[in-house]
């Protein structure tokens, strides 16, 4: 049924960082869980009670075959139907920039979950800025691999844009790490200007600032 456990050294750095952030035994919803690679890791390594939402039927089928509880659906429409605080963590990995209503989704993540784990490509990364400045072309980088006409990303932002929207929505940033393909996650202070240049992608652990929110 399930593939044999991967060598811990083979676990993607961003997944490894999420495994570190998510409390073992907690209730987790992975929004946009794909074929369930991360969710399976969380269930196996952290013994979480894991659920997933995935838009593609083939992804959902793959998840079911892995023994995961996954619903076909999408982040824009299907989060509204969960009860408030149904989960300890809601994970949105490299998806926020592709949803129709990122602010709404962000609010929903922290309505249905006590904490949210959100990762996104940083449009403020120096390569992105350089590409635009030097060539006047839409950047194609490790974190943004597709050309403009093929990308699902419709709401790209920088680390600073994201921290600003969190501030507006009264969302607290409990932890932040810079991600780069193949390299271990690097804890950063997202408020520092230099990190908005250096981080190719960033991962945030978020929580509601006021319990009533």
């Amino acid at each position: 049924m399930s593939a044999p456990p991967p060598d811990p050294a083979d676990i993607r750095p961003d997944f490894r960082e999420i495994l570190r952030l998510v409390r073992p035994g907690s209730r987790v919803l992975d929004v946009g869980c794909g074929e369930g690679a991360l969710l399976e890791l969380l269930v196996r390594e952290n013994r979480v009670d894991g659920r997933g939402i995935e838009i593609s039927p083939s992804g959902v089928s793959a998840c079911l075959a892995r023994g995961l509880a996954v619903m076909q659906g999408d982040a824009d429409r299907d989060l509204d139907f969960f009860a408030a605080r149904a989960f300890d963590y809601v994970i949105l990995s490299q998806t926020l920039q592709a949803v129709q209503r990122p602010r709404h989704v962000l609010g929903e993540l922290l309505r249905i979950g006590d904490k949210a784990v959100v990762s996104l490509p940083n449009f403020g990364h120096w390569r992105v800025r350089l590409d635009l400045l030097a060539h006047g072309r839409m950047p194609v980088t490790g974190a943004l691999p597709q050309p403009w006409w093929e990308t699902p990303n419709i709401h790209l932002c920088t680390v600073h844009d994201f921290t600003a929207v969190c501030e507006e929505l009264e969302i607290g940033i409990d932890a932040c790490a810079a991600l780069a393909a193949g390299k271990p996650a690097r804890p950063i202070d997202p408020a520092r200007g230099i990190e908005n240049w250096r981080a190719e992608a960033a991962l945030f652990l978020l929580s509601r600032r006021s319990r009533s929110a």
Binding site: P57, V60, A65, R66, G67, A69, M71, G73, D78, A86
Partner: protein
């Protein structure tokens, strides 16, 4: 309670009719009860020592207890041979699979074509109106009589899926997993409308005789065939009909009359004609009525999530098909959302196919793989079968 001697076959399949005595009447939602209830059923495979490998399959409107092939080569085919059999998701070499004819049916369980023991005559329209919950209550009696305290899974498509939901609502402690395929938590206005067309066709047939055709030695075959023809269209999709038949003719040219010029007409006539040989018209009235009355939320203050409030520990898997316009995906999504709101563990897959509602009975590799994966992993957690 007594049992007709079960005949056993290749995969330990057994066929029987269980008769509940007057001391165990079936209490009905409508207020009445059925004494001396009989339920015809088949089982495939053997119940293990822990009694933990039982799966109940709930059949759809016009189907029966013959869910899988029996009698080896040359034997009767089952209606779910694509999912039930050795090496398939429902495997008689591992599971104890139970399928029973619903109460109100005409394949051996007590229904309008049975003899009312109080009068010695056919029930006909004196048979009480039954509901999906009544069907499930009768199944629960059977399951208990077969020595199964808790089912590993309850699985069904279409009306069978409605029964699955009812099981979860009414007996949440007696099932571990629930699989609901191409169904809804309530019958829509369109569903009721199509059923009404079918019922009116039957009742308009002079041979129906106010429901008393059995005593008159008649059968409302024309009306029942029309009912089946209309219903059969709803089981397919426009794309599937077009792909299968297009405007292809039966013969060389148009007849300039009302024969079955088009292949699609001939196909529907065949569907109607072959149906009347195996189904009872009054059963069709009663079972379609039970489906129309089905509204799981209604009994729970109109909030579907409340129906599943006690089913939080049941593992659900819900399937829909893109081209199913009888029970469209939105109906399955409503079920899944209610399950989530109730805090239940629900998986959901919409399968891409142009074969319409009937896809649940056909060989759909995605359904087979996903159902297999779901049951495998449920079994690991259940820890026994």
């Amino acid at each position: 309670m007594s049992e007709a001697a079960p005949a056993t076959g290749k995969f330990g399949e057994a066929e029987g009719v269980i008769a509940f005595g007057a001391e165990a009447p079936l209490r009905l939602d409508g207020g009445g009860r059925i004494d001396n209830l009989e339920i015809a059923y088949r089982t495939y495979g053997a119940l293990n020592a822990e009694r933990s490998n039982a799966i109940l399959v709930c059949h759809a409107l016009t189907l029966d207890q013959h869910v899988a092939a029996s009698g080896g080569a040359g034997g009767r085919r089952g209606w779910w041979d694509s999912l039930v059999g050795p090496g398939l998701p429902l495997d008689p070499t591992r599971h104890f699979i139970i399928c029973a004819n619903v109460v109100g049916g005409c394949m051996g369980s007590t229904g309008p074509s049975s003899i009312d023991p109080r009068t010695g005559a056919t029930w006909g329209l004196t048979f009480p109106v039954i509901t999906i919950a009544d069907m499930v209550r009768a199944q629960a009696m059977l399951v208990a009589a077969l020595g199964v305290e808790k089912l590993f899974a309850v699985i069904g498509g279409s009306m069978g899926g409605m029964q699955v939901l009812q099981w979860a609502a009414d007996y949440p402690d007696r099932l571990f997993a629930a699989v609901c395929i191409a169904a809804a938590a309530r019958h829509s206005a369109q569903n009721i409308a199509f059923h009404e067309v079918g019922r009116q066709a039957i009742m308009a047939d002079p041979d129906w005789r106010g429901g008393g055709y059995a005593a008159a030695g008649a059968r409302p075959e024309k009306g029942l065939a029309v009912a089946r023809m209309a219903a059969h269209i709803t089981y397919l999709s426009e794309a599937a009909l077009q792909r299968k038949f297009g405007r292809e003719l039966q013969g060389d040219g148009l007849s300039w009359g009302f024969d079955a010029d088009f292949q699609v007409e001939s196909y529907l006539r065949h569907q109607g004609a072959s149906f009347v040989g195996r189904f009872d018209a009054n059963s069709y009235l009663y079972i379609t009525r039970a489906m129309d009355y089905f509204d799981l939320a209604a009994a729970h203050g109109g909030v579907l999530a409340r129906a599943f409030a006690a089913a939080r520990d049941v593992r659900f898997c819900v399937f829909s098909f893109t081209s199913d316009w009888l029970y469209p995906t939105a109906e399955s999504q409503a079920i899944v959302r209610a399950l989530n709101a109730a805090g239940a563990r629900a998986s959901f897959v919409e399968i891409d196919t142009d074969r319409g509602h009937d896809a649940f009975l056909l060989d759909e590799p995605v359904l087979r793989a996903a159902l297999g994966g779901f049951l495998e992993s449920a079994a690991l957690v259940w820890g026994r079968p």
